[in-house]
């Protein structure tokens, strides 16, 4: 009984410590995604040209 209770307590502690970290990480990822989307929308030409250049480079590397 004592062991089970201690395991439960430990699990609760871990959850209490990990859950905010996970939530924070999720929010950070969402925020980064929004920032990227906004940047792409504000600079479409630059981003698409960059993507074309990146694709070109990947193709050149793949041909080697």
């Amino acid at each position: 009984m004592e062991t089970t209770a201690s395991i439960k307590r430990f699990a609760h502690d871990v959850e209490a410590r990990v859950r905010p970290e996970i939530e924070g990480a999720r929010k950070r990822i969402e925020s980064a995604g929004e920032r990227v989307t906004t940047y792409i929308k504000e600079n479409p030409g630059k981003c698409i040209l960059g993507a074309v250049a990146l694709g070109y480079l990947v193709a050149k590397l793949a041909r080697r």
Binding site: K41, P44, A51, L54, G55, V58, A59, K60, A62, R63
Partner: protein, 134 residues
Amino acid sequence: MKPFGDNPTNAPANGLTTGGKPDGGPTLRQRVDQCSRSAEQMWAETRGSLTDLRDAIDVKGRTNRKPYTALAAGLGLGYLLGGGLFTPLTGRIVGAGLRIGIRVALLPLLEAELVRMVETFATGAAEETSSSAG
């Protein structure tokens, strides 16, 4: 002094005149004006075509609606321009896509077939049990 040597029409050797030709042809100024007008017209037409092309492609609108799709399209275009179509990497990507696609497409079919088999088996077993009991 004769300005153009022995030319009796007093015109330059290239046939162009500056003050009008005796046969009524265009003067040098008229030709220059015509060239200038043609160049301006061509430039205007080129600009119009470019504007039409830009409107047709609508990069900004597409990027606003689906930014990641537009980026992927740019990446693909660059890949094609770089000659990456017939490379082993393309083969691997296409192969992996096909495998995943076939799995995703086949999974519901297999699931339905399994459910049908289980139902048939269960129905048969129930009928057998009831006939043996009766």
